[in-house]
């Protein structure tokens, strides 16, 4: 970490103030652009085009999605899950971010480490940990039975609730960090000013801290919401077939039933709705205006 402060660190972390000419910029960008076009945009476009071109130019695949309740149920469940997970993550993350913003010194480092460390552990591992907790003979069930609270183990695994829980826990850092950074960016004298002008601690939070942390809240929500829409491993492993989400459905159509046009149509819907949500979110919150022109 100490390297970030040295000139070499600055070079590597790209905070250099040096400007490049147009030609140089193009030369430097070309390898990445080529890679993106060849390995990302082209395959994606090809895949998405299947939905309207196979077997012949048609909208049948979309009509099929619309017509069958099975698909709409999964789509609605996916958005419901993403909304609930986003809301849950926000509720849990804001207090933690707020606490972090008030801590200094060793405690600040400790809490930051607790928040960030899980990011270094594979999602697969973090998901399986929940099966240990929620399984029929898992920690929660066996403890409850031993304590005499219940006779029969509860079905916790393979429920939508299990998926929410795991997804919220896994995505907490994604919400905490942007909120924390916007809280830290608020000059402390704003809070003092609000107090000296007659505000209580609650007024300071309501009129100063909260509104000024909204850009971080918005960034966290967009991030978690979009990632949740496409969540694959966690719903598959601990949600079971009855809690299937759209990403799992796409995989199933493509790899099990080899119905690529239908998988492609599903992907189109997911992408279209995601893009629309992001645009709406940006419009509603006017993120650029929250902090004013300065």
């Amino acid at each position: 970490m100490s390297g970030a402060a040295s000139p070499i660190g600055r070079y590597w972390f790209g905070v250099s103030t040096q400007r490049y000419s147009r030609a140089m910029t193009l030369v430097l960008l070309t390898p990445l652009l080529v890679l993106l076009v060849v390995a990302f945009f082209w395959p994606i476009l090809r895949f998405l085009s299947l939905s309207v071109l196979e077997p012949e130019p048609t909208l049948d695949n979309f009509r099929q999605l619309w017509a069958r309740e099975f698909y709409t149920t999964i789509a609605i469940r996916t958005f419901r899950t993403a909304l609930i997970v986003t809301a849950g993550t926000l509720l849990l993350a804001y207090p933690v971010a707020y606490l972090m913003s008030t801590l200094r010194g060793a405690w600040a480092g400790f809490v930051a480490a607790i928040v960030v460390l899980p990011l270094w552990i594979s999602i697969l591992v973090r998901t399986y940990v929940w099966t240990v907790f929620l399984g029929r003979n898992g920690i929660i069930n066996s403890s409850a039975i031993n304590l005499g609270l219940i006779d029969q183990p509860m079905t916790l695994l393979n429920t939508e609730f299990a998926v929410w829980l795991a997804m919220i826990q896994i995505q907490l850092p994604m919400m905490i960090l942007p909120i924390y950074s916007s809280l830290r960016a608020i000059p402390p004298d704003l809070g003092m000013a609000a107090q000296s002008l007659g505000g209580s601690a609650r007024d300071v939070f309501r009129h100063v801290t909260l509104p000024l942390s909204l850009p971080g809240v918005a960034a966290g929500c967009v991030l978690v919401f979009i990632i949740s829409l496409g969540y694959f491993i966690t719903p598959m492993l601990i949600g079971g077939p009855r809690s299937m989400m759209i990403a799992t459905l796409i995989t199933q159509q493509a790899t099990k039933f080899l119905d690529w046009p239908l998988a492609s149509a599903l992907a189109c819907v997911l992408m279209g709705v995601t893009l629309a949500m992001v645009i709406v979110f940006n419009r509603v919150l006017r993120l650029d205006r929250v902090m004013g022109a300065g």
């Binding site: 000059p187 004298d189 704003l190 003092m192 000013a193 609000a194 107090q195 000296s196 002008l197 007659g198 505000g199 209580s200 007024d203 009129h207 100063v208 509104p211 000024l212 929250v290 902090m291 004013g292 022109a293 300065g294």
Partner: protein, 368 residues
């Protein structure tokens, strides 16, 4: 009467008393048994280098620091235990501390909103406050669209709109450039006089303190070194610290010499003496005691050499507009500075040996 034409007529400034204030951070006493009494409607500057405790005193009055020992009274009421929001004190911060997500008008209306004043009353008061700081028509602007000077005016309006009996200012002009700073000094002084507010103003800029304050408390090491009018501070500093901190000063080494009932000062490295008149603390003086003589450069006159009077070698002449700064090497090796009128400097050249003279009652002598 059109409510928009109404003005903030007056603030009923109240007296402030800080008694026996002590505040320590670990082993360091930031403020050490400070007592300070400010009259109603008075403008007092807390002047000192950074770490002298002036900001800690201000923060304690504002309610952001709790004193270890001591009390704060405003208008005779002990407010030591009150939270900051209940003290009815207006505060202006160094970096303005305006709310960036609110417009100018919303910022100024904030303290009114906290007091449940809204609607037309609030709007009229905001208009009046804007007029007071000469920012009519800026209510709808965003903070980011204002210059530094305009932001400071908004901060002033916001701190005054609810007519608090006491205004605290923490280096409010520190972020402005020199010209704007001087303009704002006069502006703040004008507003303070007009409204009759009591002001406690923290600054490390002695020029600012001398220009604006009715009285200055010079601080160092958590203590008040002197609390007096600007003129008194400049002409009759209480000790070496004040003498050196406020204004340009010559501090000349030497010793005291008794001359019958009177005292003279002998310059180090020579037999030259000067008369001393109107000195304060002569009680502790002894013949031959080491001391420092303080004389302001503008009091030093450069002329012909006279027997037994101080003299030195002119080493440098620095032209600075209406005056010339004349650097003279004394026999002790120390340098003395004389600020003389350009006309008087015509006969002086580098390398001359010149006599130095000053009014005997305008210098100060401190035991060294």
């Amino acid at each position: 009467m059109n409510p928009k034409a109404r003005e903030l007529v007056s603030i009923h400034g109240k007296p402030v008393a800080v008694r026996g204030l002590t505040k320590a951070y670990g082993a360091v006493k930031a403020v050490d048994d400070v007592t300070l009494e400010v009259n109603a409607g008075e403008f007092v500057a807390l002047l000192g280098p950074s770490g002298s405790g002036k900001t800690t005193i201000l923060m304690t009055i504002a309610g952001f620091e709790t004193p270890d020992i001591g009390t704060i009274e405003v208008g005779g009421r002990d407010i030591t235990a009150l939270p900051a929001g209940k003290r009815e004190i207006g505060m202006v911060f160094q970096r303005y501390a305006l709310f960036p997500h609110m417009t100018v008008a919303e910022n100024i209306a904030f303290p009114l909103k906290m007091r449940k004043i809204g609607g037309r009353d609030a709007a009229a008061q905001v208009e009046a406050a804007l007029a007071m700081v000469r920012l009519e028509g800026y209510g709808g602007r965003r903070i980011g669209q204002l210059s530094g000077g305009q932001q400071q005016r908004v901060a002033l309006a916001r701190a005054m709109v609810y007519q608090p009996p006491l205004l605290l200012m923490d280096e409010p002009l520190g972020a402005l450039d020199k010209n704007l700073r001087e303009e704002m000094q006069l502006e703040i002084k004008r507003l303070q006089k007009k409204l009759g507010a009591t002001v406690v103003y923290v600054t490390h800029d002695q020029g600012e303190a001398l220009t604006m304050a009715n009285r200055i408390a010079v601080m160092s090491d958590g203590r008040i070194q002197q609390f007096a009018t600007p003129m008194e501070i400049y002409d009759r500093p209480a000790n070496l610290f004040v003498a050196g901190f406020v204004g340009e000063t010559n501090l000349i080494d030497g010793e005291l010499a008794r001359d019958g009932a009177a005292w003279r000062f002998r310059l180090a490295g020579s037999a030259d003496t000067v008369a001393l008149e109107g000195q304060d603390a002569v009680d502790g003086w002894r013949d031959g005691m080491r001391a420092k003589l303080m004389v302001r450069p503008e009091l030093v006159r450069v002329g012909p050499i006279r027997d037994g009077a101080p003299s030195g070698l002119v080493e440098e002449l620095i032209y600075s507009g209406g005056t010339v700064v004349c650097m003279v090497r004394l026999p002790s090796g120390a340098m003395a500075t004389a600020r003389i009128a350009a006309a008087d400097a015509a006969g002086v050249t580098v390398g001359d040996t010149v006599g130095l003279e000053w009014p005997a009652d305008r210098v100060r002598v401190f035991a060294a």
